[in-house]
C-alpha cells in the first residue's frame, strides 16, 4: 500500500519536472524499491539467518554425517552406507519404533477424545465454568519433570495412594511404572492429566459451531449422539486434524516423561550424564525412538549412526507435517 503511495507521489513529481525527469525516474524508482527491500530484510533477516544456521545447515550436516563415522574428537570419516545398513540389524531400534508407534496409536487418540469430552462438559456447565476451566487446565502447566515425579509417587506400587485406594475396594493394583505391561499405560494417564491445552482449543472450536445447526438437527429429531455425530464432529474436524498432526509430532519427540519416569521408578543412582543408563526401564518398555537416538549418539558416541536415526525421524516428521500444510489455505488464509 505504502509502495503505491510513494510511487504515485514520485510520478507526479516527475511530470512536473518535464521531459528531463524521465532519465532520473528509473533510479528513484529502484532506490525506493531497494529501501523497501532493506526494510523487509532488517525485519526478517535474523529469522532467516536462524533458519539457515539452526535448521538448514544442521539438516544437511546430519545427512552428510549419516554416511560417516563421527565422534567428538576425530574428524568425520566416510564409511558409505555402513550406518544405514546397521539400521536394519539394530534390534533396539525395532523396540524403540514399536514403542513410539504404540504411543502414537494410543496416546494421541486418547488425548483428543479426552479433550473433546472435557471441553463439551465445560461448554454445558454454566455456573462456575471459568473455575472448572482453570482447574482442568492447571496440570497442563506443570513442568513435565514435575508431572512425571508426581505420577511416579502417585502410582508407587507399594505405598502410593492409588494402589492404597484400590486395595481398600479389594483390587490389587498393578506395578505401574515398574511393570513392562503397565509402564506405557501409566504414561498415557500422565498425558491425559495434562490435557488442558488441547481442551482449551476444543472449547473455542465447539463454541464456533453455529447453534442454528443444533436447533435444526433437534427439530429433525436427532438425539444427542446423532447431533454430535452429524453436527459437532464435522464442524470441529479441522481442529481434530490439527490436534492429531501436532499430537503425532509431539509423540515422535516424546522424551522427557519416558526418561524421567524410567530413572525415578528404577531407583538407580543416576546423574545427569548417566541418566541414559536407566532409559527404557522396565525391560525397555518405555524406550522411545528419540531416547534411542540420544543414547546412540551421546552415550554410545556413535554420532554417525545417530544421524541416520535423525534423518529417518526428519522424513517421518516432515511427511506428517505435509498433511497439515496441505490444508495450508486454511492455515495461512486466516488473514482476518
Amino acid at each position: 500500500m505504502s509502495a503505491v503511495l510513494t510511487d504515485t507521489a514520485g510520478g507526479a513529481d516527475r511530470t512536473a519536472v518535464g521531459p528531463l525527469g524521465g532519465a532520473t525516474r528509473p533510479r528513484r524508482w529502484s532506490a525506493a524499491k531497494l529501501r523497501r527491500r532493506l526494510t523487509v530484510l532488517a525485519f526478517i533477516g535474523p529469522a532467516l539467518a536462524g533458519l539457515g544456521f539452526f535448521f538448514v545447515y544442521p539438516l544437511l550436516a546430519a545427512i552428510y554425517f549419516s554416511f560417516n563415522r563421527v565422534d567428538l574428537i576425530n574428524p568425520p570419516e566416510w564409511v558409505g552406507l555402513a550406518n544405514w545398513k546397521f539400521l536394519f540389524h539394530d534390534l533396539n531400534v525395532r523396540q524403540a519404533v514399536s514403542n513410539t508407534l504404540w504411543f502414537i496409536v494410543v496416546m494421541v487418540p486418547a488425548r483428543i477424545v479426552g479433550a473433546i469430552v472435557t471441553a463439551m462438559l465445560l461448554n454445558r456447565v454454566r455456573r462456575g465454568r471459568s473455575t472448572y476451566r482453570t482447574l482442568f487446565y492447571l496440570p497442563a502447566l506443570a513442568p513435565p519433570v514435575v508431572a512425571t515425579l508426581a505420577f511416579v509417587s502417585l502410582l508407587k506400587p507399594g505405598t502410593g495412594p492409588v494402589n492404597t485406594l484400590l486395595a481398600k475396594v479389594g483390587i490389587e493394583g498393578p506395578l505401574w511404572f515398574s511393570s513392562p505391561d503397565w509402564a506405557k499405560p501409566a504414561l498415557v494417564l500422565l498425558a491425559l492429566w495434562g490435557i488442558g491445552d488441547l481442551m482449551i482449543i476444543f472449547v473455542a472450536a465447539l463454541l464456533d459451531v453455529p447453534t442454528e445447526l443444533y436447533e435444526a438437527a433437534s427439530l429433525d429429531g436427532a438425539g444427542p449422539w446423532q447431533q454430535f455425530r452429524n453436527v459437532t464432529l464435522p464442524s470441529i474436524s479441522p481442529v481434530v486434524l490439527f490436534s492429531a498432526v501436532t499430537g503425532v509430532i509431539a509423540t515422535l519427540q516424546y522424551f522427557t516423561q519416558a526418561a524421567v519416569a524410567a530413572s525415578v521408578a528404577s531407583g538407580d543412582a543416576v546423574t545427569g550424564g548417566g541418566i541414559s543408563g536407566t532409559f527404557g526401564y522396565p525391560e525397555g518398555s518405555t524406550f522411545t525412538y528419540p531416547l534411542w537416538l540420544y543414547t546412540v549418539g551421546f552415550r554410545n558416541g556413535l554420532l554417525g549412526y545417530s544421524s541416520v536415526l535423525a534423518v529417518v525421524l526428519f522424513v517421518v516428521a516432515i511427511s506428517v507435517t505435509l498433511v497439515l500444510l496441505r490444508r495450508f489455505n486454511a492455515f495461512a488464509g486466516s488473514t482476518r
Binding site: A47, L51, I200, L252, I318
Partner: protein
C-alpha cells in the same frame, strides 16, 4: 431438554392447558435440576482428579522423614522447614538461578527478533513471504532431535557445551513457534491502522513501535509466557548440553536426578518439586487471559 417438546402440544389443547403446562414445566424443572446436579458432579469429580496429583505432592512435602514413604496421605505433623532445608542441603539455589537466567534471557532475545519477523510476515508485502512462513512452520514442527548431532558438534567447536549458551544464543534469531504465534496475532490487526500511520509519514519501524506494539500487547505477552514456560520446563536441552557440568543444571534437570544424587529424602525432593511448580502457577494466574488467547490462536486457526 427431553421435556421441551411436551410443552408445545399441551398448549394447543385448550382447557387442560394450565394443568398440563404446570406438570410439564415441573417435570422440566426437575430434569434441569437433575442435569445440573449430574453435570456438576462430573465436573467436581474431574476437578478432584486433576488436582489430586499436585495435592499429594504438596502434602508429602510437609511430611516428616519417618512418614514420607508410608501409605499415609495426610501429614501427621507439619514440617514447613522442609522447604528451607532443601535450599540449604542441595544445590537448589544454583538450579533456580540457572533456570531464571536461561528463561529470562531466552525470552528477552526471542522477543527482540521474533516481533519484527512476525511483522514482516503479516504486515509487509514481499516476494517469498509465503515460502518463508511455510519454512517457519516446518521448523516449528521439527522434532529437536533431528538437528541435535550437528548442533552439538557446532557448539562443542565453539567450546560452549557444558553451559546453557547453546540454548540461549539461538534466540537471537527468534523462535519459530513464537514467530508463528505472533504472526497469527498480528494478522488480526486491521491494515487501516498501519496505512494511516504510513500516510502520516511513519517508517515501518515507527509503525511497528507506535501502532502495532500497543495493540499487540496481549499477543506479545502470550508469546513471552510460552517461551518462558518452555525454558522453565525444558529438560532435553539442558540434559544435552549441561549434563556433564552440574554447575549449569536447571531445575528440571536437577529434579530428575535429585534423590539419588544428593541422598535427600522424598519429602525434601517434593518440596523442591513444588518450588519448581509454584512460579509457573503464579505467572499463569497473573496472565491467564493472554495465555488462553494464545493457546486458542495457535490451535483453532489450523
Amino acid at each position: 431438554m427431553t421435556a421441551a417438546p411436551m410443552t408445545t402440544p399441551s398448549m394447543a389443547l385448550g382447557p387442560t392447558t394450565a394443568v398440563a403446562l404446570r406438570r410439564a414445566n415441573g417435570k422440566r424443572r426437575r430434569n434441569n435440576a437433575l442435569i445440573f446436579v449430574a453435570e456438576h458432579s462430573v465436573a467436581i469429580a474431574l476437578s478432584i482428579m486433576f488436582l489430586a496429583p499436585i495435592g499429594f505432592l504438596l502434602l508429602t512435602s510437609f511430611m516428616s522423614n519417618d512418614q514420607q514413604l508410608t501409605a499415609d496421605m495426610w501429614p501427621r505433623t507439619w514440617h514447613p522447614e522442609n522447604y528451607a532445608n532443601v535450599f540449604e542441603r542441595t544445590p537448589l539455589p544454583s538450579y533456580l538461578l540457572n533456570t531464571v537466567i536461561y528463561a529470562v534471557s531466552a525470552t528477552g532475545l526471542m522477543l527482540l527478533a521474533s516481533v519484527p519477523a512476525a511483522y514482516a510476515l503479516s504486515k509487509l508485502k514481499w516476494r517469498g513471504r509465503t515460502s518463508v512462513f511455510i519454512a517457519i512452520i516446518c521448523v516449528m514442527m521439527l522434532p529437536p532431535q533431528v538437528v541435535t548431532v550437528p548442533l552439538y558438534l557446532m557448539w562443542a567447536n565453539f567450546g560452549l557445551t557444558g553451559s546453557l549458551w547453546p540454548l540461549i544464543l539461538p534466540m537471537l534469531a527468534g523462535d519459530a513457534f513464537s514467530i508463528f504465534l505472533l504472526r497469527q496475532f498480528l494478522v488480526t490487526i486491521p491494515d487501516e491502522y498501519l496505512d494511516a500511520a504510513r500516510v502520516d509519514g511513519c517508517g515501518e519501524w515507527r509503525a511497528l513501535l507506535k501502532v502495532v506494539l500497543p495493540i499487540a500487547k496481549p499477543g506479545i505477552a502470550a508469546a513471552a509466557m510460552f517461551q518462558f514456560f518452555y525454558c522453565w520446563n525444558d529438560y532435553y536441552g539442558p540434559l544435552l548440553y549441561t549434563s556433564e557440568n552440574e554447575g549449569a543444571w536447571t531445575l528440571s534437570l536437577g529434579l530428575a536426578s535429585f534423590r539419588s544424587l544428593h541422598h535427600v529424602d522424598w519429602n525434601l525432593a517434593t518440596a523442591a518439586t513444588m518450588l519448581t511448580l509454584i512460579p509457573v502457577v503464579i505467572l499463569f494466574f497473573f496472565a491467564q487471559k493472554a495465555f488462553v488467547q494464545g493457546v486458542t490462536l495457535t490451535g483453532v486457526k489450523g
